[in-house]
C-alpha cells in the first residue's frame, strides 16, 4: 500500500467490512505467538503439584530433584515467602493466592514446588522426584460442604487493596463466603402469593475456556528490570501485580504481549506470571513455562453455579416478583469471583420490568481449582435460571413464550429493578429479529418416529465492566501513515482491525495505513483490561478522542501555514482543505514543514474513563451500575432423538445489539463463534470432579464443539441501537451471543418432548433420564 488516500470507492472507515489485519499471515501460520520466542539457553520450569484437596504441608524433600543432572534450582513456597513475605499473595479482588503453596494446599493440582532445568523433560522429571508429606484437613468439595461451615478454605479473608468496597471483609474468619451481594426491591415474598408462580433449582457446571493456544510466560531480568513476555489479556494489571509482589517501581517492570491464540477470559489476572516473575527475579535468569493442556485446565475455570429461584406474574401477564439465591463456586482462590458475583447477581432476574425483586448472590470458597472470568462473566449461569423460569411461567399461563417476554422486557428509558436506566439495549428488537428469522409464528412440523422437533427462545442482558480506564496514543507519521498505541490485546476479536477503522473515519484516512503496536507496557499506555467486551466502547472512545485531537492539530498546522484562522479549514482525504480558497495542504507537507524533517512524527494522546455509582448498602441498587448494557437474543429450532436423547440443532439464530457495528463481518463472527461455544455449554461441556480432583482435563476426555456440531443453519443478526456516547454509537459484542444459548436450547427441548431440564449440560443421558422420569413415550 503506497497510496496516501483510499482508492475511490474503498471505504475502510466505520461500518466497513475491511479484511482482518494480517489475514494471510494467520492462514499461513506466520503470526508469531508468545511461545514462538526462541529459547536456547533459558531455564525451563516445571511444577510439582498437590495430590490433596486440603492439607497442611508437613515436609518437602527436594534432594533427589535437586541432584538430577540438568536441574538448576528447586524452589518451594517457603523459599519465596522468605524473600517476598505476604507480598507473594496476589489476586484481582482478594490477595489470597500464592504462586507456590505456603504451609497449606487448597486444591488437587495446586503448585507446591517449582523446578528450573535445562530442558522441559528434565524439569518435569525432577518435579516428579519431589516428595511432599501432608496432614489432611477436612476437604470442602462443593458449595453445600462450604455452607455447612465445618471447615474453612481460608483462615481469614484478605481482600486486595484494589476495591475499596471489599475493605470491610478484611480479616473476617470462620466463613467460606468470600463475598455476598444482596438486592432488595419491594416485597417479592408477598407478591409471589398472587397470580401464577414457577420455581426451580438450577445448576450450571464448571466448564473450561480451552483456547487452543496454551498459556505461556517467559521472564528475564535486564538492567535491573523485570521483563515478561506473556499470554495475557491484562498487561496493565500484570505489571501492577508483579511490581507489587517484587516491590519494584512500575518503571522497572515491562510486560509484552503477542496476539493471543484465543483466550475467552482464561489468560487474565494472575496465571503463570507471578511464579515466572518471582523465579526470574530471584534467579536472575531467563525462565520459561508453557503450560501443558492438563496444567492449563487447572489455571482457571468457569464458575459452577447453583441458582434457586422463582418468578411470578399476575392475571394480566405482567411480572410481579422474582427471587433468586445464586451460589458461585469460586474454588480455592477468589480471583475475580466477588466481582462476578455482584455483576451477575444484580441482573439475575433478567431484562424485565419487575416491581418486587430479592436476590442473594454469593461467592463461595471450595477446595477446587480457582474459578475466574469466562466469556459472559457469570451471566450465562444466571441467564440459565431466568430464561428457563420465564419460559415455564409463560407455559403455565398458556401463553406464547416470546409474546410473554415481549410484554415484560425492559425498554429504552425504563429503570431496571437494580436501579439503572436502560439506554441502547434493544431487547425487543433482538427478540423480534430472532423470532422472525426462525419463523416463530409459522406452523412447525413436530416430527415423526424417533425424532421430535421443537423451538425455543431466550433473551440475555449483561452490564459492561464499569468503571474502567482507557488511553490511546496516536503517532501520525510524516508520510501520512499512522501508528496507534493502545494496550488492548487482540486475541481473535479483531481490535487491531477495528481500532484503525475508527482513526480512519475521523482522519479521512485509509485504515490500511494505520497500524496498532503490539502491547508493550513500556510503550503502550495504561488500559484496565481487554475483557468484558469493554474495548470497543472504552478504548474505542479513547481512539476516537485521540484521532479528533490529531485532526485539530493538523488544522492548526494548516492555519499557521496559511497565516490565519482555522475557520475555513477542513480535513479531507487529500489533506487540509481551505473551503474558501480551494487550497489543499497535504499532511506530509504540513508535518515536514513543522519539524523541518522527513520521517518526523506528530503525537497526541487521549484518556477515556468511565465512572459508576456503588451499590446501595441496604438495597444493592445503583443509579449507575454500568456505563452501558449488552442486549441479545437467541432462537433455536432442533430435533430430539427420543431413542438416544441426542439433540440435533437445525437452525440457530443469534442477535446482538452492538449500538453500531464498526466492522459488521467481525461482529457476525463474534456472534456466531460465541453461539457455537454456547452450544457446547448447552449440550456437553462439563468439567467433572471426584473428591476435588478434575477427571477430564485432556482433550481426549473433554469434549469441545467441532465442525460436526455446527447447526444445520446458523444466522447471526446485528441490531444497531446507537449508544449516545459510544464511538460512532458502538458497543462491544464478545459475550452477547453466548449468554442466552443454553436456555434457548433447553426451551426448545421442552417444546419438542415436554421435559423441563434444569441442570446443564443437556447430555443425551440427561435428556433420556428426564423423559423416563416424565413418562414420555419413546
Amino acid at each position: 500500500m503506497t497510496q496516501t488516500t483510499p482508492e475511490p470507492g474503498v471505504d475502510t472507515g466505520v461500518g466497513s467490512r475491511r479484511s482482518r489485519v494480517g489475514a494471510a499471515g494467520k492462514v499461513l501460520g506466520q503470526l508469531r505467538h508468545v511461545a514462538d520466542r526462541p529459547h536456547g539457553g533459558c531455564a525451563h520450569v516445571a511444577v510439582h503439584r498437590s495430590t490433596r484437596p486440603h492439607a497442611r504441608i508437613t515436609s518437602i524433600d527436594v534432594s533427589e530433584a535437586a541432584a538430577l543432572d540438568g536441574v538448576e534450582g528447586v524452589v518451594t513456597g517457603a523459599d519465596l515467602y522468605k524473600v517476598l513475605g505476604d507480598r507473594m499473595f496476589t489476586g484481582p479482588a482478594f490477595s489470597d493466592q500464592p504462586p507456590l503453596a505456603v504451609d497449606r494446599v487448597r486444591y488437587v493440582g495446586e503448585p507446591v514446588v517449582a523446578v528450573l532445568a535445562r530442558d522441559v523433560a528434565t524439569a518435569r522429571e525432577a518435579a516428579e522426584l519431589v516428595y511432599v508429606e501432608y496432614e489432611d484437613l477436612e476437604p470442602i468439595y462443593d458449595v453445600a460442604d462450604a455452607l455447612a461451615e465445618r471447615a474453612f478454605v481460608h483462615d481469614a479473608l484478605r481482600p486486595s487493596v484494589v476495591f475499596g468496597d471489599l475493605r470491610h471483609l478484611s480479616g473476617k474468619t470462620e466463613t467460606n463466603i468470600a463475598y455476598q451481594y444482596n438486592l432488595k426491591l419491594g416485597d417479592p415474598e408477598s407478591a409471589a402469593t398472587q397470580g401464577t408462580s414457577v420455581g426451580f433449582e438450577f445448576w450450571a457446571p464448571p466448564v473450561h475456556h480451552v483456547p487452543i493456544e496454551l498459556p505461556a510466560t517467559i521472564g528475564w531480568v535486564e538492567a535491573d528490570r523485570l521483563e515478561l513476555y506473556s499470554t495475557t489479556q491484562t498487561p496493565s494489571y500484570v505489571r501492577q501485580s508483579v511490581a507489587d509482589m517484587l516491590g519494584l517501581p512500575l518503571s522497572h517492570v515491562r510486560i509484552r504481549v503477542a496476539p493471543l491464540g484465543g483466550s475467552f477470559g482464561s489468560k487474565m489476572y494472575d496465571r503463570l506470571e507471578p511464579l515466572i516473575a518471582a523465579l526470574a527475579w530471584l534467579h536472575r535468569r531467563e525462565v520459561r513455562m508453557v503450560a501443558s493442556r492438563e496444567e492449563a485446565f487447572l489455571l482457571t475455570t468457569r464458575h459452577g453455579a447453583g441458582v434457586i429461584s422463582s418468578m411470578s406474574a399476575d392475571a394480566d401477564g405482567n411480572l410481579t416478583s422474582a427471587i433468586a439465591d445464586v451460589r458461585y463456586d469460586t474454588g480455592a482462590y477468589a480471583d475475580v469471583g466477588p466481582r462476578i458475583t455482584a455483576k451477575s447477581g444484580m441482573i439475575a432476574a433478567g431484562p424485565y420490568k419487575i416491581p418486587n425483586v430479592a436476590i442473594r448472590s454469593r461467592c463461595i470458597y471450595t477446595n477446587k481449582p480457582s474459578a475466574g472470568p469466562f466469556r459472559g462473566f457469570g451471566v450465562p449461569q444466571v441467564t440459565w435460571s431466568h430464561e428457563t423460569l420465564i419460559d415455564e411461567l409463560a407455559r403455565a399461563r398458556g401463553e406464547d413464550p416470546a409474546g410473554f417476554r415481549r410484554r415484560n422486557l425492559l425498554r429504552e428509558g425504563d429503570e431496571s429493578y437494580m436501579g439503572t436506566v436502560m439506554h441502547s439495549a434493544d431487547f425487543v428488537g433482538c427478540l423480534d429479529a430472532v423470532t422472525e428469522a426462525i419463523g416463530w409464528d409459522k406452523p412447525l412440523d413436530r416430527g415423526s418416529g424417533r425424532w421430535r422437533r421443537g423451538r425455543g427462545v431466550a433473551v440475555g442482558i449483561k452490564a459492561v465492566l464499569t468503571p474502567t480506564v482507557a488511553n490511546a496514543v496516536l503517532q501520525l507519521n510524516q508520510d501520512g501513515s499512522a501508528t496507534l498505541m493502545i494496550s488492548t490485546v487482540d486475541m481473535g476479536q479483531g481490535s487491531d482491525t477495528i481500532m484503525p477503522q475508527i482513526v480512519a473515519e475521523v482522519l479521512s484516512m485509509d485504515a490500511e495505513r494505520i497500524r496498532v503496536v503490539a502491547v508493550d507496557t513500556d510503550v503502550t499506555p495504561y488500559d484496565t483490561i481487554t475483557a468484558g467486551s469493554r474495548s470497543t466502547y472504552h478504548t474505542g472512545n479513547a481512539v476516537r478522542g485521540v484521532a479528533e485531537r490529531m485532526r485539530e492539530r493538523l488544522v492548526d498546522l494548516a492555519a499557521k501555514r496559511a497565516g490565519g484562522s482555522s475557520r475555513d479549514l477542513k480535513l479531507t482525504a487529500d489533506g487540509v482543505l481551505n473551503t474558501a480558497s480551494g487550497e489543499v495542504y497535504r499532511i506530509s507537507e504540513l508535518i515536514h514543514e513543522h519539524f523541518g524533517a522527513r520521517g518526523a512524527t506528530l503525537t497526541e494522546e487521549f484518556n477515556y474513563t468511565t465512572s459508576w455509582q456503588p451499590y446501595d448498602k441496604e438495597t444493592g441498587r445503583s443509579a449507575k451500575a454500568t456505563e452501558h448494557w449488552f442486549a441479545g437474543a437467541v432462537a433455536v429450532q432442533l430435533l430430539v432423538d427420543r431413542w438416544t436423547g441426542r439433540v440435533r440443532v437445525e437452525h440457530l439464530v443469534v442477535a446482538g445489539d452492538v449500538g453500531r457495528a464498526i466492522n459488521p463481518t467481525l461482529v457476525e463472527q463474534q456472534l456466531a463463534g460465541s453461539a457455537i461455544m454456547g452450544l457446547g455449554h448447552a449440550l456437553f461441556d462439563e468439567l467433572v470432579f471426584d473428591q476435588g480432583q478434575m477427571l477430564n482435563s485432556t482433550l481426549l476426555d473433554y469434549q469441545l464443539p467441532s465442525v460436526k456440531d455446527l447447526p444445520g443453519k446458523l444466522t447471526p443478526i446485528i441490531i444497531e441501537s446507537p449508544h449516545a456516547t459510544g464511538p460512532f454509537g458502538a458497543k462491544g459484542v464478545g459475550e452477547t451471543g453466548i449468554i442466552p444459548i443454553a436456555p434457548a436450547v433447553a426451551n426448545a427441548v421442552r417444546d419438542a418432548v415436554g421435559v423441563r431440564i434444569t441442570r446443564l449440560p443437556l447430555s443425551p443421558e440427561r435428556v433420556l433420564q428426564a423423559m423416563d422420569e416424565a413418562g414420555v413415550e419413546k
Binding site: 479484511s19 482482518r20 494480517g22 489475514a23 494471510a24 499471515g25 494467520k26 492462514v27 499461513l28 501460520g29 506466520q30 503470526l31 508469531r32 505467538h33 511461545a35 514462538d36 526462541p38 529459547h39 523433560a121 475456556h209 480451552v210 483456547p211 487452543i212 493456544e213 496454551l214 496476539p259 493471543l260 491464540g261 484465543g262 475467552f264 508453557v290 501443558s292 493442556r293 486475541m491 481473535g492 476479536q493 479483531g494 463481518t665 463472527q669 456466531a672 463463534g673 460465541s674 453461539a675 457455537i676 461455544m677 485432556t698 482433550l699 481426549l700 469441545l704 464443539p705 467441532s706 465442525v707 460436526k708 455446527l710 446458523l714
Partner: protein, 153 residues
C-alpha cells in the same frame, strides 16, 4: 542422538534428534516452523498437523526419528497464492488464527484425495480439528471455494 534427514517445504535439513523427541518440537525448535503448534499434546485438536508425503499427521504424537527421509509440508511453507490459502483469506476463515494452519493442511489433504467434496465430506474430514473461536462456517465455505478454484485452474 541420531542424525535424521527431513525435507520440509522442499528444503533439506539434517537434524540431530533424541529417540523420544517429538516431530512437533523438532519442526519448531530446530527448523523454525512455528505454524506447527501444540494445542493438546494428545492428537485431539489438530493444531500440530503437518503433511508427510501428503498425508496428515499429528506431530505432537509423532517421534521424529521415525520420519528420517520424509518429505513434510507445513502451512508456513505454502505459497501466498495457494488456492486453499487465498480461499481461506477471502472467506474470512479465521478469528485468532491459531488453529487455521492445521485446517489449511487438512483441506489440502482432502482436495488431493477428493477434488470436489460435498459439505458432508468436508465436515467428516475436518472433524478432528478444533477452532475454539467457532469459525467453522467460514472454514467449510473456504474449502468449497478452494475446490471450485482448483477445478477452474
Amino acid at each position: 542422538m541420531k542424525l535424521i534427514q527431513l525435507t520440509v517445504n522442499g528444503r533439506r535439513y539434517d537434524v540431530p534428534v533424541d529417540d523420544d523427541e517429538l516431530l512437533l518440537d523438532v519442526l519448531r525448535d530446530k527448523i523454525g516452523a512455528y505454524s506447527v503448534r501444540e494445542g493438546c499434546g494428545v492428537g485431539a485438536c489438530g493444531a500440530c498437523t503437518v503433511l508427510v508425503g501428503g498425508t496428515s499427521v499429528s506431530s505432537c504424537l509423532a517421534r521424529a526419528v521415525r520420519y528420517d527421509g520424509a518429505e513434510l509440508t507445513t502451512a508456513d511453507g505454502l505459497p501466498e497464492d495457494d488456492a486453499v490459502v487465498t480461499a481461506f483469506v477471502e472467506s474470512r476463515a479465521m478469528q485468532c488464527g491459531y488453529c487455521i494452519p492445521g485446517f489449511v493442511l487438512m483441506a489440502h489433504e482432502l482436495l488431493a484425495e477428493n477434488p470436489q467434496p460435498d459439505r458432508e465430506q468436508i465436515v467428516a474430514h475436518l472433524e478432528g480439528n478444533i477452532c475454539r473461536c467457532g469459525t467453522y462456517q467460514e472454514i467449510c465455505r473456504a474449502v468449497e471455494v478452494a475446490a471450485e478454484r482448483r477445478a477452474r485452474a
